[in-house]
Amino acid sequence: MINKVVSGAKEAIRDIEDGHTLMLGGFGLCGIPENCINALVEKDVKELTCISNNAGVDDFGIGLMLHKHQVKKMIASYVGENAEFERQLLSGELEVELVPQGTLATRCMAAGYGMPVIYTPAGVGTEVAEGKEVRNFNGKDYLMEYAFEADFAIVKAWKGDTAGNLIYRSTSRNFNPVMAMAGKVTIAEVEELVAAGQLDPDHIHTPGVYVHRIFQGQDYEKRIEQRTVRTKN
């Protein structure tokens, strides 16, 4: 049986080098690959292009990589919670490509489905459309957007098995499944790693064929960005 298991984050990212393009799953701080981000910070690889919906916060998630100036270019849809990010952007240290969120997700999906482009109405008539092909289908304009190419996709799942099959939990699913499908090499860190056969095939969200390396992560902080509660009457 194929076994995709590696010992941990350090081994999983062993061949990520300066200048690589990485996809990182998560929405805000929800469902981010904490172990691999910490290992990338420790390894101090530079000049990275990161594709991720958000850029973390100042002291957590991708924000940790920004602080060490490891990121050359950020491709994201929303980067609002990160003062260091904004400073690097306004000073010109960091290159940023802002992409509508649905376009970002679908460009990942297209890569995983083996399709070179998508057509989407998002951004038609705005600065997002500059330099892009516009085609009219049934009376409506659409932008042509390319599938992403990433050297590595790094995702976080709830459960995984030794064959690389993944199950996500709740809204920490978000971008993880579409990014898992899109990497030339896909690394999955999971909260619970089980033997092949322990997960019901009907419940798999990401089939193991898309996953090249898997390990059980440690010490998940799972930080909450906006803790909102109601009180019992």
Partner: protein, 219 residues
Amino acid sequence: MLDKNGIARRIAKEIKDGYYVNLGIGIPTLVANYIPDGINIVLQSENGLLGMGPFPYEGEEDADLINAGKQTITTLPGSSIFDSAMSFGMIRSQKIDLTILGAMEVSEHGDIANWKIPGKMVKGMGGAMDLVASAKNIIVAMQHVNKAGESKLLPSCTLPLTGVRCIKKVVTELAVLDILPEGGFKLIERAPGVSVEYIRQSTLGKLYADDNTPEMSLD
């Protein structure tokens, strides 16, 4: 004149039974508090949830369960979870009946700007460009004038656009207005205590306003 909750209350009256609704951040989020009795709707959160429930009770927060504003939330009976591509798939294919979002500027042609102030604010568009480009039914919740008293309902937007010719209805602290297919704001209702003349003075874009425009009811 309406406060933020008043704007949300008025918008809630536009929601029909059986709607799937996406609420943006800010005033639109408040709309969920004013859904009339007997109206059953499903809230979509574009990070991948249909059937968003209220905030959790203290101590029951789940870091894996948040809305698009990154707030801890709950699910409801009948909820479903999916990935980001499917989430925008259902938006693009118009399965979502109504989108309610905020704006910094709206033009008399239905253009909207709400994601960027050049040189000042660079946060990104998030899902707003996808939502306005695809939704069949969009209501904008916004302030009619800024703090300096300048109109935000304009002949054309001055800020970078989020979408073009996509907005058909605007609810502000002063009024409910439709945007006509041929261009121009049409005054539909006045906020309590606000005169048609005051709305005229506060609207820089082309305004069609009947002197007998009714005052809105919030009940």
